[in-house]
Symmetry: D3
Subunit: 284 residues, 6 copies
Amino acid sequence: MASQFSTKFIRVSEPSPHVFHVELSRKSVNAFNVDFWTQYGEVFEKLAEEDVRAVVLSSALPKIFTAGIDLSDLASLVSSQDEDSARLAIKHLKHIKTFQYAIGAPARCPFPVIAAIHGAVLGLGVDIVCACDIRYAASNATFCVKEADVGLAADIGTLGYLPKITGNISLVREFSYTSQTFSASVAEKMGLLSSVIEGGRDDVVGAALELAKVIASKSPVAVAGTKHIISHALDNSIAANLDYTAVWNGGALQTRDIIENVSAMKARRSPTFAPLRTKATSKL
Amino acid sequence: MASQFSTKFIRVSEPSPHVFHVELSRKSVNAFNVDFWTQYGEVFEKLAEEDVRAVVLSSALPKIFTAGIDLSDLASLVSSQDEDSARLAIKHLKHIKTFQYAIGAPARCPFPVIAAIHGAVLGLGVDIVCACDIRYAASNATFCVKEADVGLAADIGTLGYLPKITGNISLVREFSYTSQTFSASVAEKMGLLSSVIEGGRDDVVGAALELAKVIASKSPVAVAGTKHIISHALDNSIAANLDYTAVWNGGALQTRDIIENVSAMKARRSPTFAPLRTKATSKL
Amino acid sequence: MASQFSTKFIRVSEPSPHVFHVELSRKSVNAFNVDFWTQYGEVFEKLAEEDVRAVVLSSALPKIFTAGIDLSDLASLVSSQDEDSARLAIKHLKHIKTFQYAIGAPARCPFPVIAAIHGAVLGLGVDIVCACDIRYAASNATFCVKEADVGLAADIGTLGYLPKITGNISLVREFSYTSQTFSASVAEKMGLLSSVIEGGRDDVVGAALELAKVIASKSPVAVAGTKHIISHALDNSIAANLDYTAVWNGGALQTRDIIENVSAMKARRSPTFAPLRTKATSKL
Amino acid sequence: MASQFSTKFIRVSEPSPHVFHVELSRKSVNAFNVDFWTQYGEVFEKLAEEDVRAVVLSSALPKIFTAGIDLSDLASLVSSQDEDSARLAIKHLKHIKTFQYAIGAPARCPFPVIAAIHGAVLGLGVDIVCACDIRYAASNATFCVKEADVGLAADIGTLGYLPKITGNISLVREFSYTSQTFSASVAEKMGLLSSVIEGGRDDVVGAALELAKVIASKSPVAVAGTKHIISHALDNSIAANLDYTAVWNGGALQTRDIIENVSAMKARRSPTFAPLRTKATSKL
Amino acid sequence: MASQFSTKFIRVSEPSPHVFHVELSRKSVNAFNVDFWTQYGEVFEKLAEEDVRAVVLSSALPKIFTAGIDLSDLASLVSSQDEDSARLAIKHLKHIKTFQYAIGAPARCPFPVIAAIHGAVLGLGVDIVCACDIRYAASNATFCVKEADVGLAADIGTLGYLPKITGNISLVREFSYTSQTFSASVAEKMGLLSSVIEGGRDDVVGAALELAKVIASKSPVAVAGTKHIISHALDNSIAANLDYTAVWNGGALQTRDIIENVSAMKARRSPTFAPLRTKATSKL
Amino acid sequence: MASQFSTKFIRVSEPSPHVFHVELSRKSVNAFNVDFWTQYGEVFEKLAEEDVRAVVLSSALPKIFTAGIDLSDLASLVSSQDEDSARLAIKHLKHIKTFQYAIGAPARCPFPVIAAIHGAVLGLGVDIVCACDIRYAASNATFCVKEADVGLAADIGTLGYLPKITGNISLVREFSYTSQTFSASVAEKMGLLSSVIEGGRDDVVGAALELAKVIASKSPVAVAGTKHIISHALDNSIAANLDYTAVWNGGALQTRDIIENVSAMKARRSPTFAPLRTKATSKL
């Protein structure tokens, strides 16, 4: 049962076969303390071991996606100032990397993660949606790279991802320097979103779940390979990516899923695919 | 005569001086078997040796750009499964790289290649247009990254190029995971196209040929250098590109084409330029 | 006083605290000779040592941003052809790198530079605005990558920056090959601009100064770090950028500006921040 | 007590303050099964949280360092051949990456790890010593990149590390293609070893522990930074490394350890340094 | 028959099964004109399609390995100076890349190539041996990076390979700046050679053929993978190489060669392996 | 006259035509304060504009190369601890980069710089010799990466250069972690030196000047290109370097120096070459 993956602050369900719904649910504004983001990383680490083929990530709260980091964490950050400065820098470094690793968990999963966004997305929320594969936003969604307002550079993914996944660096810089709030339609213009869905939470989640069902109907070998290769392409030259792809598909083209697709097409039926990973043999 | 470069499945003409038109012409849907894509690569390799200054690539078929790979090739791919798996992987690797090299031929030419797209562009068709310099599409054009539907990750260029040449990775991932068809206007929003031309095949080819004439009127030294340096920029840091550009222009600024441009401007005449390469001396 | 930084061809003022206005002012068309671009680099090098928190760059001329390089420089370039070709190539290389370094000065400053663009932007003008952080354009602005018309590949930044900072490589290539003029609205579609401001010079400068005031009200530690990390992201993998960010923020999170922000928020007052650099200690 | 970190197959002791000794101890030949290499990674992960300043890694067995991977693991690898080939490839990929991560643990520790090698080092043993910082070998040590003999390319580090950490690629290729055994003195000529210590196990462990004591007497801020920056240098350009180093030392130069060193030098006493990390505050 | 691959200037034989001997044989000093190096590239391209498992490259001439480039080619290079300088630069660029591609052919083969060197190795000869996998030299061998003496930077591989494949950049620079001749023993100290074989041509060829026989007795899947991954390691970060290796071995671990090795070991017989590539199916 | 380039702490002479000798001369131990290293950078910046073809760098003091950084600089570093930690980190960052830039000046010169080393080389001295092209050491030379002893990671070049220019990373790490002194012969084994010259200061300077005369007798186009391309090779893939080299030589092969070499060889006379750069035209 999908709900076995739920945690104190995160609800997990399986609204259709192999499609999982991960909902952020910490009252009143989905503020992320260490426990919350640790759970967040762990939920995705666990789902990566299951026969999950697409995930929709959303907020369970009616009015907001997330207010970002919990203020109490910020306070503890500030209060530790009287240590040796170099040791404190190394402690921060280690902390930030652990934090980045948790929030980056969706990018390491073999299945796509679709962020279904409504309401306000503040600070860490932008890091979170950037590390997802696909972003749908309700027309009532707003975004704010809040970190400059707090006195720091966003460090959990926003500044690393935005220049790679969008198409307007002038806007990326403007919003990152000013902490100004921007609307879903500006986010779409910037290239951050696939679509703006008219309405609010239910509308965008509904659209994202429909998309997830389409993805879940495809060969998981094909989808996992496609995700892996696009992520590689963001960080490597075209020539290096073509080479990497050829090595990848050297093995992947041997999948039975291609035969299954051809057979199903001829028989005018839907294809069915084995899970990507069989748990029983995972020890080796 | 341009037509000497025509092959069984490809028509080559020279509608205006130095502007070549390469038309895909295999009935009924421009399905690419090994012969077709081998010819495709060879045509561009040969044109690269001629005094060609711009190429328009289009489909000669009235209703479709290309249906992508020929199904018989796919069948032979599937049927070879009972070899040693590692040797088969290396055979696939070698095959894919040969295939990539052929489809990537336009990117290695010193002149720009403009894809003039109408009708359906399926699977390999997306790889093909990605490796061109400029994309114009008729308003009736549609695109589909068909590979996920077949059970594999696109491996001839689509996944390597799209994240570099467009500005919305959320859409790139969405269409690559789902094999959903998208329209010319969505492709334009995504950043894949220079322009959507109202109409069909004739309209978009006409617009592309006009653009090609403009390019062909410029110094081939300037155009070839510009193409080379932009391609370098896609794959390297800004600092590395600036350095590379300085080395390139150290030689290129010595061209007589600059003097010719200045003279022509003063004399209010059109400049004329020598071919980029003189064949007679090519042995060395 | 800000005006102490003014030069023969550049006017510098401080319209609001820490917000500097740099105006290009060489009659009649802001043509850049060696003196002009040398001054340009030097002005920004000097401002980088001051308590400047945001800069607006514009043209002081009513009708044009810049016509690009001065024709007399081009002439001297052409006239030096009879030297040893290899030595001439090395001389050009050195010259281009010096030129690139001057025009790239805004990218090396710790504060953001906003280009407020009106009228025609020709040739070098495109290199100049590309090296700025943010671009606002008046609706009367037009752009032209003029270099192909002259017989050379743009070599001071345009071809290195455009593929990284915009989201439509097809358009980047089209305009770079053809030297065709494109409008502010096409530039916006391409992803080159944050906004198109209805009107002309005064309108766009006004909007840019407003934006600059917002930036100048933020922690200079946060803004400088954000700028630095986004620039790093353009040229490095996401993983490398996350690592670099963690090292950066290991030190930066120890700033008192975070405490000041929290205090000010609680006290419902505006925060105030120390300058980024204290000149007195700069000898070490 | 250091022994709390011991596991079934690994002995951990602290022969001098902050110097830990990790001994591989699985009879009869230190063959690595999944449990062994999982423990190996975990031991180093745990030590990374402690006030450890240098580690010596050796074999507890008198005659051999390690015979490499356990043959039973190899058997289970071979027996899983009848699955879907693509899924099997992905399972292998995941397995290899987990394995690499465990063996690479010393490289992620903030303290140096010195491999003290005697006897035969086969297959995985080469991967293991490559991921250490420093290699000392007894004159009776021999090395063998055994994987080619088994029918595979070494995949846990050997082929990635050797070309970066040694200075003779001709020898690297020769030994990797042939699985020929090479002596400590050839390994030294190749650049793989700091020193060859005349004798056997006790001699080399003694020398390594002496070196570890020297390292443990230095500022842990200095040592951790040095390790981190050298590792960065192996994988990045000189310019990128210089930049990264400047960011790192921006924080690190603020350490009190510099003052402590100066004071101790003046007072002609040995300096003492605080641990690199204080566990109490590690929650943030 | 191996001799079918012989050309005017190159002799090919198969002294033991799957071990090919490629001998440079152009009187009187193996001077390379365009025909010679074109044949050189083609011979290796063809052998790459055959069941070759190791190649020894040597000179057939008793006293010299090669004098490098043919002086008549140099003359034709010099005589083409009166063209447009930019076009000439592009022609040279194209020529150099074709030349590099031919000389780099051994690096693209799936089998190792061992250079068995005796006598003088001048200019292009250094480029040639650098692109081989393994270098053995007779004690009478001498090396000279002759290009500086001619007035140019070595451009066919020497300067790109030497810093990656050896371990003393001071010597690399010294010999490249001065064109000073260095002995086999200095080359060995520098890290360029696996071994110096006492004697001359016959001695070094004999030793290289012995090594080739050992390589040819191993699984061609293992050897080709090892070669491919080491080459990748020279040009990529350790992390990227580990990832690439995991993808590669995901497929390669499924080879039957591992089972064959285990069976043969148990049965105390020599293993036998299928060719890497079956020509019959190469059309796909 | 060469002596016009001398400064307070640096003596410059021209012992043979185009061969310059730069001697570090600050009593009593060549301790580097800010003035000294600023002068150091400036001397090389100025020589880069002259007709210099090779430089020998040595110490003018009889017993030591350099003791490294001046202790008074270290004191001022330590005393600035009570600022805002983040601002201090940025100040340090800027300081380090300025320092690195000065010490890295030899690497940016078009001519080779040969370090002729005798006596002790401490701390910054290692950074200094690493940034030179070639290193000769007297047998009395000793080296010490002193920074760990002071409490910091070496940040002016040592840790970035050593892993690229030598061939034994185990030794690089050992000496960098321990600050242990190593002899010239160990430095040679590690790959840091071209040669160890028996004797002291006069012997090594004599040998270096001989080498410099050989270099100065070659075409400056060939030498500058060779230096530039080897430096590129250290930081780029082999494929990228081959491409870069082809672009570079596209221009450089057009030099008259090749003709001059051929003519001189035929006429059995020494060739003579024009300076690399003509100062008169340097304004453009």
